[in-house]
């Protein structure tokens, strides 16, 4: 028994001395970076493999789960999941007013596991909005928006708005009554935006060419609207989110990792 145990330990130790092990886990499990839990160590390891760790970081910032609840990380995870499930949905969906609704019904009756993929997309979208909001709340409550992170807060606000817009544009795509009138209402609200809305204060654009007309692409919600919202939902907004997220993460690294307790 003891011999076996010793052997096992030796084998384990010898693996821990290899360069592969050190490259992945490095000094996360030993020395000054030893962390409280295996999950924290794993996250640090992933962060190290992706070169996300800054040169210097606060002691509190090492405890990711306990301090930030990983809300931002979960938002990224949801975004990745949405990109994957969204790509699968695009295989069967046509942004055509005569096809869109029946395409969405096909996910229920014709496409194997279509219900699973579509509902994953739907529920993940809800969760992403929820977790982005919770992330913002956490950052606010812990004062993590303070210098040198002011700019990252602003970038975060843009990311929140883009998340909301992605949610709003995706709402139209099933092309049912709820979607149609929901988007009619949403675009009508655009008319009251200052400057770029026709009915808002300081309006400079006329009713046929304001932000409402640009979104709808005509006098009322129709084929041009569906195509515009589809392109916004599947191309323009995700790409903007990816670009801003990259900058968001780079700013975190620049500021010395996630903020520690103040």
């Amino acid at each position: 028994m003891d011999e076996k145990k010793e052997k096992g330990e030796k084998r384990g130790n010898s693996f821990k001395k290899t360069q592969v092990y050190k490259a992945i886990f490095g000094d996360l499990l030993y020395g000054e970076f030893k962390l409280s839990s295996p999950i924290n160590s794993l996250i640090r390891a992933v962060a190290k493999a992706m070169q996300l760790n800054p040169y210097n970081m606060s002691a509190g910032g090492r405890k990711i789960i306990t301090y930030t609840f990983c809300l931002g990380g979960l938002s990224v995870f949801f975004f990745a999941l949405l990109a994957c499930t969204g790509t699968f949905l695009m295989l069967y969906y046509n942004p055509d007013v005569n096809k869109a609704y029946s395409n969405v019904e096909d996910f229920r009756y014709i496409v194997p596991f279509g219900v699973l993929i579509r509902n994953m997309h739907r529920w993940t979208a809800h969760l992403m909005v929820l977790f982005v909001s919770l992330h913002m709340l956490r950052v606010f409550l812990t004062g993590a928006y303070k210098p040198p992170r002011e700019l990252n807060w602003i970038v975060g606000v843009f990311l929140l708005v883009l998340t909301m817009l992605a949610s709003f544009t995706g709402y139209l795509l099933p092309w049912d009554q709820l979607a149609y009138w929901g988007v009619t209402i949403g675009c009508s609200m655009g008319e009251n935006i200052p400057v770029i809305g026709a009915k808002g204060p300081f309006a400079v654009l006329k009713s046929g060419s304001d932000i409402n007309a640009v979104l709808v692409g005509g006098a009322s919600v129709g084929q041009p609207t569906l195509l515009r919202f589809y392109l916004l939902h599947a191309i323009a907004i995700p790409l903007s989110i990816v670009a801003l997220m990259g900058y968001h993460f780079w700013r975190i690294r620049r500021a010395g990792g996630v903020s520690g307790p103040l």
Binding site: W181, I185, A213, V214, S220, G222
Partner: protein, 174 residues
Amino acid sequence: MSDINLSADNDYEPGALLEKPKTVTRRAFFWAGWSSFWILVSLWSFSVFRYLVPRVSYEPSSIFKAGRPEEYPLGSVTLIPGRKVWIIREETGFYVMKAVCTHLSCQPQWIEKEQIFKCPCHGGRFRKNGVNFAGPPPKPLERVQVSLGDDGRLFINKDHIVDFASVLKVSASF
């Protein structure tokens, strides 16, 4: 050119170009390039924003004819589905209202039994003459221009919003 003599007889003098005031300086060249760049960017952004609103819409025209006046019974409210208007015949005459709620652009429904328009989205209520009396709508339904065409049919122009009280009077023979 005569100021600068580059011929073999007279060697090129360093700094000769600086004494010529009309020579384009590096700074002027920089500003010319920088400003033309931003002019190009602004023109290009204008083209992008203008691109978003096409010149022609393939939707049904906002100017159209809607049958003879005698086809509409007295007191009736008729929805023209593709055009999103109601044609209303009263004793005083005809008026045409946009089937667009003044709150957030949903389409109200005419409830014959209660003789009011109800908007399903946020519960807006309008009387038969278009006056808002309950719910969030801030103003009455919009009336659009209606006239009798040369062929005796109703001629409706949705682009032309008319006064709230305006009514098209038709002869009593109908």
